[in-house]
Structures are given as C-alpha cells and as structure tokens.
Symmetry: C2
Subunit: 133 residues, 2 copies
Amino acid sequence: MAFKLDARLEADTVSLTKRGSIDIRMMRDARYHWLVLVPEIEAAEEWFDLPDVAARALFTTAQESAQRLKALTRADKMNIAALGNMVKQLHVHVIARHIDDVAWPGPVWGVGDAVDFDEGGLKDRLIALRAIL
Amino acid sequence: MAFKLDARLEADTVSLTKRGSIDIRMMRDARYHWLVLVPEIEAAEEWFDLPDVAARALFTTAQESAQRLKALTRADKMNIAALGNMVKQLHVHVIARHIDDVAWPGPVWGVGDAVDFDEGGLKDRLIALRAIL
C-alpha cells in the first residue's frame, strides 16, 4: 500500500529533508524549533509496529536530529516523543526547549495556538535547519 | 561517580525490575499504567548523552516495555517520551493511553494530581507489571 502523509501533518508541517524512508519535517510554529519525523511506512501507528531496521533508523535519526538541533538552538533541554493520540500516523517529535519558551516547563502540546512565520522568517528557518540535517 | 536516583523520581515512582543498568519503575498514579525507565548512569540528561550501547539498550527496553504494556492494558495508544524539563536526570516515560483516561487526547503531564493506590491496588498492580517485564 502506498504511503500517504496524514492530512493534519501535511497542513501543520513542512518537509526539510529525507533520510532513507524518514521524512524530516518542521512544525509551522515560530515559537519553537520543532521537528517531526515521519517514517514513510503505511499503517504504522506505534514505533514497535515498524520492522526492526526501520525502528532503529527512526531512533538513530531522532537522536542525531536532537543533538544537532540542540547545538543549533543552544536549547536547555530536548524533548523527544512519540505520542500520536490525535494523529494516528506514526511520527516522532524532536523539540528544542528553552526556559523562556511559552510552554516551559510543561510540554508544548496544546499550549496556545501556533504562530505563523512571516515569509522571510520561514525561508531563514528552513535554510538553517536544512544546513544541519 | 556513583549513580543516585533523583529525589523526585524516588518519591513519585517505585522500582519494578531492572534490565541491565536500566531501572524500570512505575509512576505512583492509579489513573494510568505509566512506566518510567531510568538508565543508572550518572549525569546523563539527554538520551544522546549515553554511550551508544546504553542508548540503544534504553531504546530497546522502551519499545519492548511499551509493546508488553499495550498488550496487558489493551491501550488505544502508547506514549513514549523523553522530556526532562522538570527532572533533569535522564528518564523515559512509557504510558498506556486510553480514550477514556482523564487526560485523553492531551498528554498526561500536568493534568490534575496523581491518584494514590490503596494498599491492595498497589500490590496487584506491581504483580501484574512485574509479570510482563
């Protein structure tokens, strides 16, 4: 069965790059540096639904992305999470957290509304993130 | 440097079993089936702070625990997360979520207060969890 990105992920995120079958995307929310990793494997909802090789690749990509994003953003803490309560399609959040961000020290999900990038801001952000991934 | 469990983790969780250097603990909150995995490695805060072998062992243990806990609890979704915004010592949450739990579909952190087990309930829960881990 062909992979099709979930409609909400499609609307809320933009693709930065791919690593193997993992689409590394960015949340359209200027409040955070927030990546969303989507393995392009149909019907996977839990991390352990993936074949072993794909599960480990997703883990490695999440760790490497987190390490690079932490360095880029000088984050105080990285949050890595597979939740999927609302969007069932398997995806992993990699979020740079700062002690002065709006949700700190709570989790980011459900806190206020996403803040749009302006056109220049989006372009700059995409360039910065693609450069480290 | 000797490992010492963070005081808040010590207060909020109870040890179920150990797998290698990973202490598999249970959150003292009767509202959820909620595991907390703590690699007994001093000074690790981010998953990628761990040596590779330990990082992969933590990943494997998180996935296996999640799969078994899902089967035990017939969970609608598993949540796996390394946040650490409040407790810096590296720990990974493995939480069985149900569409009728009090926090659904939001994340569990920061929602109301933990509910104590009664003595019999705690004993039964520990037996059930240790049997699958």
